[in-house]
Every structure is written in C-alpha cells, then in structure tokens.
Symmetry: none
Subunit: 205 residues, 2 copies
DNA sequence: CGCTAAACCCAAGAATTATTGGGGCTTGCA
DNA sequence: TGCAAGCCCCAATAATTCTTGGGTTTAGCG
C-alpha cells in the first residue's frame, strides 16, 4: 500500500475523538487527518480538503449530523459513516437514504467502526447488528417524507429561519417555503408553528 | 505516593471508555481498575470493591445515571464525577444535590475531567465552566412576563399565527409582533421558533 | 410634583415568508 | 410508449410578520 486512507472525524466530544484516535492508531491502513467538533466546520473542511472517509456524529450542538451529511454528499461523492450515541432510528434511516455508507452505535464494540470502514472501502454499506435490529423494528412510517422535506424539517426543529435554510441548502427562498407547505400538507397541520410538534408526535425527528 | 487513586468508569460507549483510558494513562497518579457499560453492574461492583473515584455517565440504556449515583452515595461514601453528553441541567442539578463531586460535559476538553478529579480529591466540588453556565441559567431569577406577554406566549405555544392572535385579543397585528419581540428579548433567544422551547425549559407554560 | 421606567398600543415602511404558475426530472404503470 | 404522480426547482407577486418611531397610561421614587 502506497498511501493510507484519510479519515475526518466529526464529533463534538473530545473524549470520543480520543477514543477514535486510539482505535485508528492500531490500524496503520488509516490515518486521521483532522478531528472537528462542529458540523458547520466539517461541511467547509471537505470542500477544500476531501478525505476518503468521514466519521460523522449525528448529535452536535450546532447542526444535525444528517444535514451535514446532506451537504457533503450533495457536493462531493465522499464515504460517510454515521456514528451515533442515541437510538434515533428514524434519523438513521434517513441518513442511509441520503447516502451514508455505514452506521455504527457508540454502544457497539469499537471494531464495528473498523468493520464499517472496511465494508465501505469494498463498496458495501455496513450497518452494525444492533443498529440493523433497531432499523428493522422501525414500523413503516405512516407519513413518508422525501429527503428534502426531512432535511428542512430538521432545520425547522432547530429554529432556523427560511432564509438561513435556503442559504444552507443553496436553494431559493420560495423553494424552502414550497417544501414547508408540503410538510404542512403531509403532516396535516394548518400552521407552521405546529409542524415540529406534530413531527415529534410521529417520531420523525 | 505509595498507591494510585483507583477509578471506576461507568459509560455505555466503548469508544468513550477508550478515550478515558487514554486520558488517564497520561496521569500516573490514577489507575482505572474497571470500566463498565451498565448502571446496574456499577452499583453491584462498588459494593464488593470500593474505588476512590467513579466517573459516571448519566445516559445509559438500563438505568439512569442519577439512580446509580443515589445507590452509590447511599451505601458508601464515594467520590462520583458526572460525565454527561447532553445538556440535561435539571438532572445535573439533581445529581449535585444527591452528592456528586463534579460535573463535566463530554463536549468539554478532556483536561476538565482531570481537573474535576483533582478538585474532588482536595475536597472540592468541580463544575466545568460550560456546565456551570447552564446551571446558572436554571437558577437565575425567574423571567417575569407581563400578563399580555404571557397570554401571547400561550397562543404561540398552541401554534396560533400572529394574525389569529391579533384577532383574538382585538389588537393590531404589529402590536402582536411587538410583544413577540419582547418575549424574544426576555427569553434571550434569537429566533421566534425558539421562544416556546425556551419557555418550556423555564417552566413558564 | 416632575421624572423615569415599563407596559401597552399603533401606523408606515422594511423584511420575511407564502402562493401561484410553470418547468424539468424520474418512476411506475397502463 | 405515453401518461400520471411525485419530487424538486424558481420568478413574480401576494400575504404575513417585523421594526421603527412615535404615542398613551400607570406606578414608583426622589
């Protein structure tokens, strides 16, 4: 092997970053080139410096991981592996639809992360046994949202304005309003202020 | 020093455990004697083998960390440091009342954990700056809302539009916007979509 | 009593968001 | 193959919401 596989870590917990460094230090096939603690910086980073694999946390203080994922796969064809601490299967399912190449829980043995990387490099999508079980139990959603609608729903849940959303997704403001109208229709609410509440009732977040 | 300070880690994420091992391996004053991934096993462990310091996660699949804490401090006088990944300040406040000797977020620099251990050994209670700020918001003087502001807050929580609210209260629409701006200011949020969320945090609803 | 602060209100104009109408794309199905 | 339905997008325009700058009233205080 001439060159190692470059890895970007995106996780807001320094202690988890340390754990990942220790893990990958035992596999000289991989090299961590950067570890970031904010989703926004991650989107920017991969623009200027693409990496082979992104290890992405779903829960970060600034941006939802799925939205980072959407931005990354939207601009570059990069391998993203989801590393989640919670059992948010709806969101994980959505991440897979967006193009995540692997899903591992922080409660899984660390080797699962390596397994996911191996699978991704081989062109497969790896979901750890625990996560696979959770996903299979996920009852088919009574309300089916498209990926765009889901992305915008997540931004809404974070309290972002339409303008901010249009900027992040690089689409026109009326397009955001259009998707919001679709969310209102599908979730059967009359008012934008009820969208997030209803989505939570339906476990869409 | 004749003997090292013994440490028990209780956290359901192996990768976090790795990070902690790496961290404490750089401080030969401490020695990790065990790392457990379930709260129930932790309660049992310290009965048979007391340790100097317990690093305790709040979010575990089987038992809430606070319940483990209650059992530990109830039976043995042991130093427990809370290591939390979420901003659950109500629960953290409760943990401190129960007798936790330190609080650190997983989003804090790892050194904060060492600082908390040092403080605990010196007999102090250490709360990291980030956590301290969150806790202070809990304790800060209750936000005083006028009756008009409170009325409008309730309408907002029900998802009513400004127009509907102006209609119900028989006031002009800009007046509603004015009161909403006051709510934003008093609740210290930047965006209308966050008002209700913040009000719930403060138990104003 | 005058002064200040805070709550309440509104008109007008600025800013944001929604709707309409239309286009392109893909998928499944007749 | 052609058609219908869903998704995604946007420009232009409509509707809503926000801000600004002003006004009134009340309450506390030196």
């Amino acid at each position: 092997m001439t060159t190692k596989h470059s890895i970007l870590i995106v996780d807001d917990h320094p202690i988890t970053q340390s754990g990942l460094r220790l893990l990958f230090s035992r596999h000289d096939k991989y090299e961590i080139v950067e570890a970031l603690d904010r989703g926004a910086t991650a989107s920017a980073f991969v623009q200027s410096q693409p990496v082979d694999i992104v290890i992405l946390d779903l829960n970060m203080p600034d941006v939802r991981g799925v939205n980072v994922l959407a931005e990354i796969v939207g601009s570059r064809d990069m391998t993203v592996i989801i590393l989640t601490g919670e059992s948010q299967f709806q969101e994980i399912d959505y991440a897979l639809k967006l193009g995540a190449r692997g899903v591992v829980s922080k409660a899984d043995p660390p080797d699962e992360i390596i397994a996911a990387c191996e699978a991704a490099l081989a062109g497969d999508v790896y979901v750890s046994p625990q996560m696979r079980e959770g996903l299979s139990r996920l009852a088919e959603a009574p309300v089916a949202l498209s990926s765009r609608q889901m992305a915008i729903l997540h931004y809404l849940a974070q309290g972002e304005s339409n303008k901010e959303i249009s900027y992040r997704l690089s689409i026109a403001q009326p397009t955001v309003s259009f998707h919001i109208a679709e969310l209102r229709r599908k979730l059967d609410v009359s008012n934008n202020r009820k969208i997030v509440e209803r989505a939570q009732e339906l476990n869409l977040l």
